[in-house]
């Protein structure tokens, strides 16, 4: 029995990431759905204001990676449990890897390349710290 067998590492990852995700997601929900106006207060100014802060950049990127890997590994287990035909199974697993990788890359780029004060946008849509005009 190899110590670093894939299934063993996946099993440990699910427990460690699951534990961390509880803190990350509960914080995410309190800040985005409970504080101030809740879901009604979420707009470009709110998100761009948050992501201008390195703390929220690293918070969100950690949440993104852990949630997507935790979720897609869960889906891998579900596919393993219910899909027996090898062709269908391979198609689903390849789709899962492609969609997960795409979303991780896309989300990471969005978090680190977002311009909170895009030129030419109406000032009332932007965070209050953006220079006027």
């Amino acid at each position: 029995m190899k110590f670093f067998r894939f299934d063993r590492l996946a099993w440990i990852f699910m427990r460690v990431s699951g534990f961390l995700l509880i803190g990350l997601i509960f914080t995410h929900l309190i800040v985005n759905l409970m504080q101030d106006g809740g879901v009604k207060a979420i707009d470009f100014a709110f998100v761009a204001g948050k992501l201008a802060n390195p703390f929220w950049q690293w918070f969100d990127v950690t949440l993104l990676w852990l949630a997507l890997i935790h979720g897609s590994n869960g889906m891998r287990v579900v596919i393993d449990d219910y899909v027996y035909r090898t062709g269908v199974k391979r198609f689903l697993l390849v789709s899962l890897v492609i969609s997960t990788t795409t979303l991780i890359v896309l989300g990471t780029l969005v978090i680190f390349t977002l311009d909170p004060c895009p030129v030419g946008s109406p000032a009332d849509l932007l965070p209050s710290f953006c220079p006027a005009g």
Partner: protein, 133 residues
């Protein structure tokens, strides 16, 4: 008419170790909530990615999350996440300690109580945000 057709054997759930009891329901609910959260996560990364494109586009996308129907959907999503979180902690405890695996049923009812407490704290505030006031 006198020939008797063999009747189907009845499935008896009583007396089985697992089926129909708390262990099965925690497993079923963990799987259903996990899959539901995963598909929301896919959509959520994509809708948030529009924040990188244009402030007006992002605000228009977010407006669809502020309708009454989506507000109820968000309540269901949070209910799923909170259950998955507490039941996940229960799974970690049952895996790690002999005490928890002996008392896994009690822990499952503990998960339901904690879930109810958090939902009672969350729902009024969220519903007030969604339905105004």
């Amino acid at each position: 008419m006198s020939i008797k057709t063999p009747s189907k054997p009845k499935t008896v759930f009583r007396g089985t170790l697992y089926r129909g009891h708390e262990g099965m329901w925690s497993w079923v609910l963990h799987r259903i909530t996990g899959i539901a959260i995963y598909f929301f996560l896919l959509v959520h990364v994509l809708d948030t990615a529009t924040v990188r494109l244009d402030p007006e586009l992002y605000n228009a996308v977010m407006a669809s999350y502020k309708t009454p129907i989506m507000g109820l959907g968000e309540a269901a999503l949070v209910a799923a996440i909170v259950f998955h979180a507490f039941n996940g902690l229960r799974i970690i405890l049952v895996d790690m300690t002999a005490w928890a695996s002996r008392h896994h049923r009690t822990l499952f009812y503990g998960v339901l109580v904690l879930w109810a407490v958090v939902m009672i704290a969350f729902l009024p505030r969220h519903l007030m945000h969604v339905f105004g006031g």
